[in-house]
Amino acid sequence: MLKIENVSKIYDNGFQALHNINLEIPDGQFVAIIGLSGSGKSTLLRCINRLIDPTEGRITWGTIDITAAADDELRQIRRRIGMIFQQFNLVKRSSVLTNVLCGRLGYVNPVFSLINYVPGNEKERALAALTRVGIADKANNRASTLSGGQQQRVGIARALMQEPDLMLADEPVASLDPATSHSVMRYLELLNKEDGITILCSLHFLSLARAYSDRVIALKDGRVEFDGLPSEIDNERFKQIYGEDAVEVEIH
């Protein structure tokens, strides 16, 4: 159970991205977070693994208080929280395999990282993760030579290396074409169904949220505007979330 209590975030420039957010996310749920650009989706996701420190409030995960964790405790918490990004955030000049192995860094002795040594069984694990997302044959290619969809799958494989219990996906398909989007979303669905990983995924398209998620949370100006089943979002709710002029676009 991930519990977000009274979380607010005010950036140094005075912009308030989150207003007093309260959420409870049970284990194993596939949650879609929707909302306009700037509504606070990315900030909320980053507050959960503390890539951004919330200004106020508390985030707990099971018995662990994430917001109170010191640096080394935080690293241990982060090991169990995978994250994938809109821009994939791969090291473009490194090989696909190296990128995937990076997901394991939290488990490796930092001294080894100085000499770029990776224990042998970790390589097998990385290849297994790549096989799971269907691109084991690209293991030795440079990450920059892969297409967008393939890069995002490498991102998923990297997160898989962490053996996560929770996966944060920050607009994972916003840079991809519709067909590839569905393929990436299906991998996330697979992780949710097969491995029981809780997934928090921010999305632009409501149709994707309807297709894959168990629950939709809509943010508007840093506040929770809607929290419920995807099917509950009708035209009126839609205009509430996205504004009066918005028209729903389907992605197939």
Binding site: D72, R78, M83, N89, K92, C102, N109
Partner: protein, 688 residues
Amino acid sequence: MIKSDSRTILRRIIILIGVLVGFVIVAYGWTVTQINLDRPQEPVRQQNVTNALRELLSPNVFTQDYAINSTTTSILVDCPADGGTPETPAAPDDGSSYIVVTPACASEGDIITVTGYNFYPDTLARLNWIGTDGERRIRQVIGSEDNNFVVGSNGTFTAEIEVPRIRGSSGETHTIEVQDATPSGPVRFSDTTALVMEKMVETIFLALIATLISILPSAVLSFFAAHNLMRPVKMSLGSLLIAFALLPVGWWLGSLLLGAVGNFAISLGSGQLFAGSASTLIIAFGAVAVARRQAIQPETLWFRVRGVLMSLLFAVITIAVLGLLGGVGILIGTLWHEGILGYISAFVGSLGELVQLLIPTLSGITGAFVLGSAGITLTRPLLKAIDVPVEHILGAVLGVICGGILLAFSATVGMQAAWLGLLTPVIAAAMGGAVLPGIYNRLLPSHPAKGTFKTILRLIGAAALFIITFMALRVERAVVEGVLPPTTVAFTIGNLVVYEYVAKAMLIGAVVGGISAGIAGTRAQFPVGEVLYNTTRTILNALRAIEPLIMGLVFVIWVGIGPFAGVLALTLHSIASLGKLYSEQIENIDNGPLEALQSTGANRLQTIMYAVVPQVIPPYIAFTMYRWDINVRMSTIIGFVGGGGVGFLLQQQINLLRYREAGVAVLAIAIVVSILDYASASIRERVT
């Protein structure tokens, strides 16, 4: 009709004033730099510069051997009274050179014409008059101020000379001789060229070694000088102060205990090559095996202690391996003395000695680091548990210790040279900046100081502390009179002598440190990264501001004239310069991978190794090449102050006014720099 706005008019007036002020500034600069259009037009100066440039542009790169041929004919001085003329000798029919004098007899002071045939074309020749006494007298061709003249391109020449006055030789037959230089043997490089080449090789390697040595230090420094990496680094004040207070103890213990380990390893390694190498390998493999077992652990006391012991073990092993390698290096240094093996052996031996020199320092640093981080690890739960009143009391106690240590250290540095005495007031001021806003916020917690007001409070506090420290330590004596601080002994602990000067600084540091850390409390977050960033940047900028020429002067005093001084000067400057360039590359990287690796639970070191390093390697290679190129150019200048290389040669030749030889050096520099420039450009293109 458009009404002109008063603001527009004001702006125009300001611009006009700005232009006028700019004009005055340039005019003043014109006078200060003594720009004078008459001087370049003076004929003497124009002649001088033409000559110098002409010689510079005629470098004696090549040379050739010449044979001096002598061709003679006779002339009767004073024509016979009977009016008859002596016979003109006939031209030889074998094609060899000959000269004809007309008329064949003449009196002293007469002008005669000498015509030569079948000479080597375009060669230099001179005319000698050989009297009956057998003495050679050079006759200058009329209309020339040079002893030599040039033979025409068809091998003939015509020259008019005056018959010399040689007493008592009237009626005798004199000899006219033409000496000409005929090339013999092939064109080859001159001795100057050989010397310049030798020095050029020295220059290239001087620049290469300086660049290579500077890579590692500047790469390490660049991470501390990159704002995007350092800005997020924060630490709780309590942890920081504990670590800081432990640094001197750690240094002392480290240089004592680890130093002993290192020295033992060196003696083992240098005594026995086989035993040394074998134990290096065994220890290194052991270390890897031990480290592999260590996984990241839950937060219990036992695991904390274990972690500390592990890092201690790791430090001991590192120093031991380093010492063994150094020892083996020293041993290898004694093995060979000649040929390529000799070079290698001397080099490895020198590296071994370097390790031996550095072992005490490295041991100290490692000890300080291990003890400091052990302090942080072991006290973290404690610091986390304590609450408001204790937090401030502990902060004050730690602040007293750390403030004292910091200023005592800076005062010790300040005792070395008069103006270094300014360091203590400056650091005290930096600490004092935190005091006033802290007190204010403590007194009025509802209206915390913000923005400009906070800045003013900071400045007042800083200024106050600067003045207090300045007065207390009597820094004005150092600054005005250049006197070192007095070495009055305040007290002694064992055989450690503490001077009054240091003790005073320590007291100020303790008071300021105690107050500011006491107010802030141990749980306050201290921006360690910002402080490290600013310190590194300041040092790099200061180093970069010092011309390598001046560094060269200092190193020539230290290690004597020669390329070694040049290497040291260029290395120091390259570290500063590359450090800055490298750090800018880090600031330009894509931050996405950084964020991604942080989110996986990687620590800062791992994030840097896997997300930053791969991104900066191509620009690092490019800038290193570029730096080599710069260093070749700079080393020619360093040579002027005795830093070795081709510059030293160039300076000597310029001082001796041998511009043709100097021209060879200039040409060589131009060629090498252009080749390097081209090579570095193409490599840069390839790696990015």
